[in-house]
Amino acid sequence: MNIKSRRYSKKRIRVLLAKAGLDGHDRGIKIIAMALRDAGMEVIYLGLRQTSEEIVNAALEEDVDVIGISLLSGAHNQIFPRLLKVMKTSGLKGRLLIGGGIIPKQDIAFLKKKGVAEMFTPGTNTEEIVRFIKKAVEKKI
């Protein structure tokens, strides 16, 4: 373990969670928020109906390691690419972006190609998401 990563391991992972689009289904994202907090991460939950700009501004302000977006309305193919675009122009290119919701398989492939690190669908164990984030953040250091 090099010095940088050791220092990192003491710092808590900061996660920004938000609901994008118009749907109000927040059961899942609240579960994730509680699970990540219980796993020792710092969680900032922005709430419902956040625009790409609002999400990116908050991510910059809070200097987060991870952005997690939940979306159950079917608008993912429009919303994620737009968010990635705003991230890119705001200097957040390469920041870990993950998503969750009702996302068909073929759309997951499309979104990953666009730059979303992972998509978690219904039935995913929260520990799996914790593991994924820890590993991915460590890799980026």
């Binding site: 609240k30 419902l48 079917g74 993912h76």
Partner: protein, 559 residues
């Protein structure tokens, strides 16, 4: 006296049986679990229920007969011997044309009522060409912008012969106004219209989260629609007080029941405050519940719902008309209980939940399609869902007698327990100053989040088993799902832009101006909204006009 003696004897005999028969047997074969609980974590107190476990019940007072106070055994006297529940599949996607086609398909398959699902922009009061609507048009339901869309949505459907339920809340008055305008355009009398608008904003703040305005003006819109309805559209249900979404957000059965009933009483208070008399409107209120996996807990919940509602209305408002105390409700099987894994299993789950709704005495029912965890349902999937109801109605025999589970020691004891637990929430919410106050403090929201977290943990720790999810897993199977293409959004945007060009500008402008003036005052807004939609004002334009007066609701983001 004789009864007490007999109860005591049964109690003594049960104890003897536990000591002498059961215990020795348990030594050989211990129980599978340390405690037995429902899906809502409600403890099942007894391993066997006997008459001595329901000795507190007074049959004539607490259970009674169907169609009579306290309605424990059923809302109406003859129940399904007289008429089968209304089979009403919630449907809507794409534009008015696609949904009209789906409606006709469902009616042809034997559905007996319509239920409209609107897309998210419509539910939030945005037009299809609003920037926030991007990607959402026609996705979760049908896109409705103006009266022109409603005309196409109900093309060739006789509004006087079929009842229509519309799941619309913050813009309920607008959509209802469009339905009224459509009926008038077809030359019908409003007294011929039957159906329901959901129109329940409190559960939006609590769970579903599709709101526009803050609570007070939202409740005014609700009392306005109720008051308009009882005078002008007497067969219409102007509100469907909903526990469904509360349950879907993660609530337990008890929380669903308690929050819904307190919401209902909040609306009753608001109507009385607005000058209505209890017997003028209480008979038109309707309810909407979830039917989840735990069979007996759900049945107990439905029976307790009827009884608590009757008791509360009687005690608080002293109605003269028995219909004011009579709870009628729609049920939908639990979407949140379905799994994306092994989707065919959802057919079985839905069948069990639908049976619970029927044994609980529902007035209408939506059965979920097996693919609804993945997308809106395909024709094939929704047909199986409808057939499930038809099989229960025609083949199972459960409709042959009224409330066949009434008198079951377990069901009656569980009904009592659910009722008792619900009343604990009544007290908590009262202590907080009522439901609106409780919502503003985030109380029901936090309670729900806590329950949903508990359930997720129970699944991850395998304390609760979900077939295909944490036990009996298999390789993933891909099934065919409904695709809604991006061309739909383009088509709908073109449609709404066309309407804006075509309509009479002067009439349109004047109608919105008058609506604004009325919103600033105290008059009933329904006639003004009807005028506006007749002038082809859109859902977005009417909502914006009201937003200008009422303001917007902002939720504190809690978890």
């Amino acid at each position: 006296m004789i009864k007490n003696k007999r109860t005591e004897k049964i109690r003594a005999e049960k104890n003897r049986w536990i000591q002498n028969v059961l215990r020795p047997n348990l030594k050989l074969l211990p129980e599978r679990l340390p405690v037995f609980t429902t899906v809502s974590n409600l403890l099942i107190d007894e391993l066997l229920y006997a008459p001595s476990d329901i000795s507190v019940l007074d049959y004539l007072k607490d259970i009674g007969f169907p169609g009579e106070y306290p309605f424990t055994r059923g809302t109406y006297p003859s129940m399904y011997r007289g008429r089968i529940w209304t089979m009403r599949e919630f449907a809507g996607y794409g534009t008015a044309e696609e949904t009209n086609k789906r409606f006709k398909y469902l009616l042809k398959k034997g559905q007996t009522g319509l239920s409209v699902a609107f897309d998210l922009p419509t539910l939030m009061g945005y037009d299809s060409d609003h920037p926030r609507s991007t990607g959402e048009v026609g996705r979760c339901g049908v896109a409705i912008d103006s009266l022109s869309d409603m005309e196409r949505l109900f093309k060739d459907i006789p509004l006087d012969k079929i009842t229509t339920s519309m799941t619309i809340n913050a813009p309920a008055a607008v959509i209802f106004a469009m339905y009224i305008a459509l009926a008038k355009k077809r030359g019908m009398r409003l007294s011929q219209l039957g159906g329901t608008i959901q129109n329940d904003i409190l559960k939006e703040y609590i769970a579903q989260k599709e709101w526009i305005y803050p609570p007070r003006p939202s409740i005014r819109l609700i009392t306005d629609t109720i008051s308009y309805c009882v005078k002008n559209v007497p067969k219409w249900h102007p509100i469907s007080i909903s526990g469904y979404h509360i349950r879907e957000a993660g609530a337990t059965a008890v929380q669903e029941l308690a929050f819904t009933l307190v919401d209902g009483l909040t609306y009753v208070d608001a109507c009385i405050k607005a000058g209505m008399k209890i017997d003028e409107f209480a008979g038109r209120l309707s309810f909407f519940f979830n039917s989840h996996n735990d069979f007996f807990e759900e049945i107990a919940k439905f029976r307790a719902a009827r009884r608590i509602w009757a008791m509360e209305i009687k005690e608080r408002y002293r109605p003269k008309d028995f219909r004011s105390m009579q709870m009628r409700f729609h049920t939908q099987t639990a979407g949140c209980s379905l799994t994306a894994q092994q989707p065919y299993n959802n057919i079985v789950r839905t069948a069990i939940q639908a049976l619970a709704a029927v044994l609980g005495g529902t007035q209408s029912l939506h059965t979920n399609s097996m693919d609804e965890t993945l997308s809106l349902p395909t024709e094939r999937a929704v047909t199986i869902a409808l057939r499930t109801q038809q099989i229960i109605a025609n083949e199972s025999g459960v409709t042959n007698t009224i409330d066949p589970l009434g008198g079951s020691y377990f069901v009656e004891a569980l009904t009592n327990k659910v009722e008792e637990e619900a009343y604990k929430y009544f007290k908590k919410i009262d202590d907080l100053g009522g439901m609106v106050e409780a919502i503003q403090q985030g109380f029901p929201q936090r309670e729900i989040a806590r329950s949903s977290q508990w359930y997720q943990r129970a699944i991850e720790k395998k304390e609760k088993i979900v077939v295909g999810l944490n036990e009996f897993m298999e390789e993933e199977e891909v099934i065919e799902t409904l695709k809604i293409g991006p061309e739909i959004e383009k088509r709908q945007i073109k449609e709404v832009k066309g309407i804006r060009k075509k309509r009479n500008k002067k009439k349109w402008e004047a109608s919105l101006e008058r609506l604004k003036g009325a919103a600033e005052g105290k008059e009933n807004l329904m006639p003004y909204i009807i005028d506006a939609v007749k002038a082809y004002a859109t859902v977005g334009e009417v909502s914006n006009t009201l937003k200008g007066v009422f303001g917007e609701y902002k939720e504190p983001a809690l978890f």
